[in-house]
């Protein structure tokens, strides 16, 4: 593994570990995150993992850019992937239905598969959480089966309901809160994805693994889900 350290701001350095998105990147990114947190300790202001990179923000009152560079190099020395599978596994219930996931029809049409098969394939894979972004607790997961890949909507919806589960290209995600959004919606989860009272705040953390489980409407509502149909047309 050949990491590069790049300048990005007065107190930020980018650690570039990979060039392409692969599920196999995650054990390395997790291991590097843990090492960086340990080495920087209290002088780490923020650590932002993404698909192929880790952005390190250090305390500029304590460390010079050069010293931060040195600590990063130290953290990456003899790095081994975290193959023990640090990161938690989650099962996330989803009510797949056209009333809350109108693009089920679109994905079925594109792939030539029955809707039930689209759902089965979305549930069949254990996804990796590559990164969180866009909104608090919004986890970019992948990789979705190629038959289900679809570009984002040409015109994003002004409002997507909280819990909406969608697909964009070969990634999948659930919206933690109502927001504008351009992903292809296929269902809705009753799970609370971001909760300021929860330890760690976000249900899903970078490096976690996620499997979606199809549930019926009654179960969805019992679990606290809001079955109000999606209002905004795509």
């Amino acid at each position: 593994m050949n990491a590069r350290i790049e300048v990005v701001a007065i107190d930020c350095l980018m650690v570039r570990l990979f060039e392409v998105i692969e599920e196999s990147n995650m054990p390395w990114l997790l291991a590097a995150s843990q090492r960086l947190r340990a080495v920087f300790a209290g002088n780490l202001v923020d650590l932002v993992p993404s698909y192929t990179t880790l952005m390190v923000q250090f305390d500029l009152l304590v460390l010079s850019p050069n010293e931060a560079r040195g600590l990063i190099a130290e953290a990456l020395t003899d790095l081994q992937p975290d193959s023990a599978g640090a990161g938690q596994s989650h099962e996330i219930p989803v009510w797949y239905d056209l009333s809350v996931g109108p693009e089920l029809a679109l994905l079925a049409g594109r792939s030539g598969l029955p809707q039930a098969e689209v759902i089965r394939r979305h549930c069949a894979h254990e996804y990796q959480v590559f990164a969180l972004g866009f909104a608090p607790g919004f986890a970019f997961m992948g990789l979705v089966d190629e038959s289900l890949a679809a570009p984002r909507l040409a015109t994003p919806r002004k409002r997507v309901a909280a819990g909406s589960v969608g697909i964009a290209e070969r990634q999948t995600a659930a919206y933690p809160a109502a927001s504008p959004g351009g992903w292809n919606l296929i269902g809705r989860t009753p799970s609370t994805l971001f909760d300021r009272q929860r330890e760690g705040f976000s249900l899903l953390q970078p490096g976690d693994r996620v499997r979606f489980v199809a549930v019926d409407r009654a179960t969805f509502v019992n679990l606290g889900g809001d079955d109000t149909p999606l209002e905004c047309p795509p």
Binding site: V8, I10, D46, V48, P49, P136, S179, R196
Partner: protein
């Protein structure tokens, strides 16, 4: 009990502090005062911690009435602040008597003013900060990110110190020469040579499309020649270039990751300056390297210590 009753406000009047840290990996934005230098002076005038909670007023439209005699501080842009109609210049602490009205109405110079109270305004800490981020429903008086509203009360717990002012020599110039120091880095090597020349030799105009997420700049279209990018962390002040070639400076409420190429990032001092510029202002980028920008920043901080 000290307090201010808000009589006028708008969506750009926000409770802010130094921002939210340690949660960027969860997709939570930074938030915090856009002009951190002025926030710091407002707090420094009262002996507060540098990042104590302040009110950020953008362009004006904010008014309060005092419920008891109190000492407050005002720093940053001159938004035509008045106490019962009498002009009040920023960069000082001042007494507001019970029943007196403080109003900030329009930008005479700069764009943002910071109002501080002894010990900082009371607000719940949400994920370690009271910075208001409307989009994320975090921070503010109610913890749900809302802007300050007419009828709400601002309170604080600190004891009132004597009044003083920031010596003119220590005050920042508000958008004086319009030069923004850009720490070169990120994907700068993947821009066309001509675009790099233009980026550092031509002026850019601040667009009216500007908010706490970012400020769009209009000027020569900059051409990125590298491969499409995979989303990665975005630092404060990142100068990103979307496909239309018009740069956007990303500010405190930016998204945490993104996939547009960047020339680098502005220095914190330049960001404070930019936060005081109005749409239509002209700015130029000056290339600086990280190590020197860091030295200059550390040196600048000394003036707060010396006050």
């Amino acid at each position: 009990m000290s307090g201010l009753l808000i009589e006028a406000s708008n969506p750009l009047c926000l409770l802010q502090d130094a921002g939210r840290f340690g949660v960027r990996h969860l997709g939570v934005t930074q938030g915090g005062a856009l002009d951190w230098v002025s926030m710091r002076w407002a707090n420094g005038l009262l002996g507060n911690a540098p990042g104590a909670a302040v009110v950020e007023v953008t362009l004006g439209g904010f008014g309060v009435v005092a419920e008891a005699d109190c000492v407050l501080a005002l720093a940053g842009g001159d938004l035509d602040a008045r106490i019962d109609g009498q002009p009040l210049k920023p960069w000082r602490s001042f007494v507001l008597r019970k029943g007196q009205r403080l109003q900030l109405s329009q930008p005479l110079s700069g764009a943002r003013a910071y109002l501080a109270a002894p010990g900082g305004f009371d607000a719940p800490q949400v994920l370690g900060s009271c910075a208001s981020v409307v989009r994320e429903e975090l921070g503010g008086l109610d913890g749900q990110g809302k802007a300050l509203a007419k009828g709400e009360r601002l309170s604080w717990a600190g004891a009132a110190p004597g009044v003083r002012e920031v010596p003119p020599a220590l005050r920042p110039s508000l958008c004086g020469d319009g030069v923004l120091d850009l720490i070169v880095g990120a994907q700068i090597g993947d821009f066309a040579g001509q675009s790099l020349f233009e980026a550092f030799n031509r002026a850019f105009t601040l667009d009216s499309r500007a908010d706490r997420m970012g400020i769009r700049l209009l000027g020569p279209a900059l051409k990125y020649q590298g491969a499409p990018m995979i989303s990665e962390g975005i630092p404060l002040g990142a100068v990103q270039v979307p496909p239309d070639g018009q740069p956007i400076v990303l500010l405190n409420d930016r998204q945490t990751i993104g996939g547009y190429p960047r020339l680098g990032a502005l220095t914190p001092l330049s960001l404070a300056r930019l936060a005081q510029c109005l749409p239509g202002a002209q700015v130029r980028f000056r290339a600086v390297v990280q190590a020197l920008a860091w030295e200059e920043h550390r040196q600048y901080l000394q003036r707060f210590a010396d006050f």
